[in-house]
Amino acid sequence: MTTKTKILTFVQKYTMIIALVLVTAFFAWRTGGKLLLPQNLTNIIAQNAYVFVLATGMLLCILTGGNIDLSVGSVVCFVGTVGAVMMRGDLNMWLAVLVMLGVGLLIGAWQAFWISYVKVPPFITTLSGMMVFRGLSNVVLQGKTVSVTNEKFVRLFGGGANCYVPDFFHGEGINILCVVVGIIACALYLFFTLRSRSIRKRNGLEVDSLAKTLIKAIVIVGVVMFFAMRLAQYKGIPMALLWVAVVVLIYTYITSKTTVGRYLYAIGGNETATKLSGIDTRKIYFFAYANMGLLAGLAGILTIARMTSAQPTYGQNYEMDAIGSCFIGGASAYGGVGTVPGVIIGALLMGVINIGMSIMGVDANYQKVVKGLVLLAAVIFDVLSKKKGN
């Protein structure tokens, strides 16, 4: 391999990470370093928690063949509405959370049934859902705002002023728990990478060179620790990050390690071949869309907690943020290609651009223009770099 093709394969493999680094560097420069201030890094996570969660669910739908779910914004709103109304009385918070997730899952299952077993095109099923649940939210709220006053709920799901994981170590000026968690995460990462490497080596399978593994590890550990230190300098780990991390870990595992995950990719790659391989593709579609409902439920919870209220307009365009993140993060519009970490990078890229421009004081309308163009540019870049490889 010549140096040129080596660079090319590197760029192809890490296109979006490189883009994220460049964009972050750009905004860090333009904002005079403000972007990387502890508070702003915290905000990128907290403000975009719903995008991370929804994009993860959306990825599973997109994997099945570029199918999207247009209803998630409305479902977020409806679930939030149901929760807010229930908690207006003195309902147990955990019961409310369970009901909200249940409602999300039920809505997901409703749409999933039509999509998988009756073969109504997903676009139409979820377009219907988009209208139905927006309308129902309005009906339930009667056009008004219902505030969420349950302190515990708000704090737990990342709303209000004090929505951080408490520092058990009571550090002064720095959140020690956050640093400790960062170190543990890095240690776990190193342990698992090196362990799987040695197992693969023992089984006679191909492994990356030690130097490459180490460089990769150093970069990842560096980024994680930088992030952890920054968060520690502010108020510590936002609760929202905790939920996002849980979702990301679970779904990374599902998509890469389980049979269901494998079948999602297989359907997107070749549905007939998958069917003829003895796989009930209907169940897989059902899983993808029912799961989307569940995650929309979680996003609904995060949204009303952050806003401490429910309004009929909440969740508007959330579906577009999720879909955009997926495609920016390297998911294929034809299905079968895409990863959860990729999608998270896509969502981060959008988040950094958002907050970067806000700090710079760019007009909100121009922000939209820029975001739209970035979506197009990201995909163009991806398409072109792949084409060159061939």
Binding site: L205, T259, A273, K275, L276, G278, D280
Partner: protein, 519 residues
């Protein structure tokens, strides 16, 4: 000195890391049919893509001399303007458009902003007549068979004023009768002065139709044989292609014991999934024994694939009736999963469309039908998966740098091996192989035959559906002949011959015509 319409001199074409063509010289005489043969990956298609301008001037070395002048095509339109028209292996027709619309797609009659439909259909009808089609030019492409679609492609080429027609594997999806018609049409065109280049894997067709044969191997011209001068026998051509003598095209099976009946199907009836009153399979009964290779012969559309798929968990058809016994026990198979669990495997004829996930690596494809084998409680063991894929790569001699290679990057023969690996890993007792050697080269075919022999030697049963009679005759222990959804003949390998099978099919044809007349 012969009058040459085309000379390609010293063509060299490199892709990153691969020299696809290496100093290829290729000369075509005016008014002749010139065949280009070679194994998959020999560079036939690349050479034709250079000629048609798909790879523009400057991306290759060497000269193209056409009609006495050096040509520098920058795109396909350039070469078409000169009368060089290429017909690709995969038909490039739009199913929901009419014949006429397809024929003039990109070459619309009338003005750009006002298409002259009367002229379009009049012209289309003219060319349809030349290729011997009686269909109206307003018939939709999806409503005519593959054989006729191929004819439409040729008519389309004629409509572009082709003087040099390039046909890439024109008969790969046609049955014997349609193939014959197409080849005869080429001979007819030759009489009128048309020059054709035909790329084909079917050596018997090539020696039938061609005046000259150029053999490519590993991107180099090996030799050019001329009719009447050189030996034109199939063995001779194959020797040039593979670079060695293939003593026997079908490997012998030794000491394979044929045992008890493993699969028995009785009174099987299947109706068309959309036209539910059309009977596709009509009262078919057959059986297969342990260690036996049973061939299913018949024309395209005889219902062989439909029969196989309807048995394989009702993947085709409606109102399926009849009984199916595996190892003497009646089974009811309602989904592919049940069929696989009962020990059946159906290896599709359409490996790209229905068989493989081209965008996924070999390893993923290998385990798809038996993911449980590399799983523990729903969690995939990636390392185990890789070693399974690696095991089958070695066993089937799949040529690939790594099992992490995407299947789409492999040649046809290697894709077929991955498809076989997938079903072998599902560990079935009975394998239905539908056209297992379609579109793959002679060397890979031989390897597939060896795999079939290994399978029956392990005590498995193989049902082989094939349109190539020599293959059915060479590989089967017993042969069923299917026509119009019915079994019209059964032969032991010893007593079967190409003539007998064809006669068997043809003798049932008139009956059908009479039936149509009655209606």
């Amino acid at each position: 000195m012969a009058d040459n319409i085309l000379e390609m001199r010293g063509i060299t074409k490199e892709f990153p890391g691969v020299k696809a063509l290496d100093d290829v010289n290729f000369v075509v005489k005016r008014g002749s049919i010139h065949a280009l043969v070679g194994e998959n990956g020999a560079g036939k298609s690349t050479l034709m893509n250079v000629l048609s301008g798909w790879y523009p001037y400057g991306t290759y070395e060497g000269d193209i001399v056409y009609e006495g002048e050096v040509c520098k095509f920058t795109n396909i339109k350039d070469s078409e303007n000169k009368g060089i028209v290429i017909i690709h292996q995969e038909l490039a027709l739009v199913p929901y458009m009419s014949i006429g619309e397809n024929m003039f797609l990109g070459n619309e009659q009338g003005k750009k902003y006002a298409i002259d439909w009367d002229k379009t259909h009049a012209e289309a009808t003219k060319y349809l007549k030349i290729v011997g089609l009686t269909e109206s030019s307003k018939t939709l492409i999806k409503d005519i068979g593959v054989g006729k679609q191929q004819m439409v492609e040729i008519a389309k080429a004629l409509a572009k004023n082709a003087r040099l027609m390039i046909l890439d594997e024109p008969t790969s999806s046609l049955n014997e009768a349609d193939s014959q018609a197409l080849l005869d049409l080429l001979l007819e065109f030759k009489k009128q002065g048309m020059t054709s280049i035909i790329i084909s894997h079917k050596i018997n067709e090539v020696s039938y139709v061609a005046d000259d044969i150029t053999v490519l191997r590993d991107g180099r011209t090996i030799e050019t044989l001329t009719k009447g001068v050189d030996d034109f026998s199939e063995d001779r051509i194959i020797r040039g292609m593979v670079g060695r003598e293939l003593e026997d095209r079908f490997p012998k099976r030794y000491g394979v014991e044929i045992g008890d009946v493993s699969l028995e199907v009785k009174n099987w009836n299947v109706y068309h999934p959309i036209y539910t009153d059309k009977k596709v399979i009509d009262d078919v009964s057959f059986h297969v024994r342990k260690g036996e290779v049973v061939g299913f012969s018949g024309l395209m559309g005889a219902g062989r694939t439909e029969l196989a798929m309807s048995i394989f968990g009702r993947s085709y058809g409606t109102e399926i009736s009849g009984t199916c016994e595996i190892h003497g026990k009646e089974v009811k198979l309602h989904s592919p999963r049940q069929a696989i669990d009962a020990g059946l495997a159906y290896v599709t004829e359409d490996r790209k469309g229905n068989g493989l996930i081209l965008s996924n690596p070999i390893s993923v494809n290998t385990t798809l039908a038996n993911l449980k084998g590399v799983c523990r409680r729903g969690v995939i063991d990636h390392d185990k998966e890789l070693s399974v894929a690696e095991e089958y790569r070695k066993k089937l001699n799949t040529k690939t740098p790594s099992v992490l290679q995407n299947v789409g990057n492999l040649s046809g023969g290697n894709q077929q091996k991955v498809l076989l690996a997938k079903w072998m890993y599902a560990d079935p007792d009975i394998l239905i192989l539908d056209e297992p050697t379609r579109g793959i080269d002679v060397g890979a075919k031989y390897e597939i035959y060896c795999i079939i022999n290994d399978l029956v030697a392990e005590g498995k049963s193989v049902i082989m559906i094939s349109s190539e009679l020599p293959e059915v005759l060479g590989m089967s222990d017993r042969i069923y002949v299917l026509n119009e959804g019915r079994i019209v003949g059964e032969f032991d390998a010893a007593e079967a011959s190409q003539e007998k099978i064809m006669a068997c099919i043809l003798s049932t044809e008139p009956a059908k015509e009479e039936k149509e007349k009655e209606q």
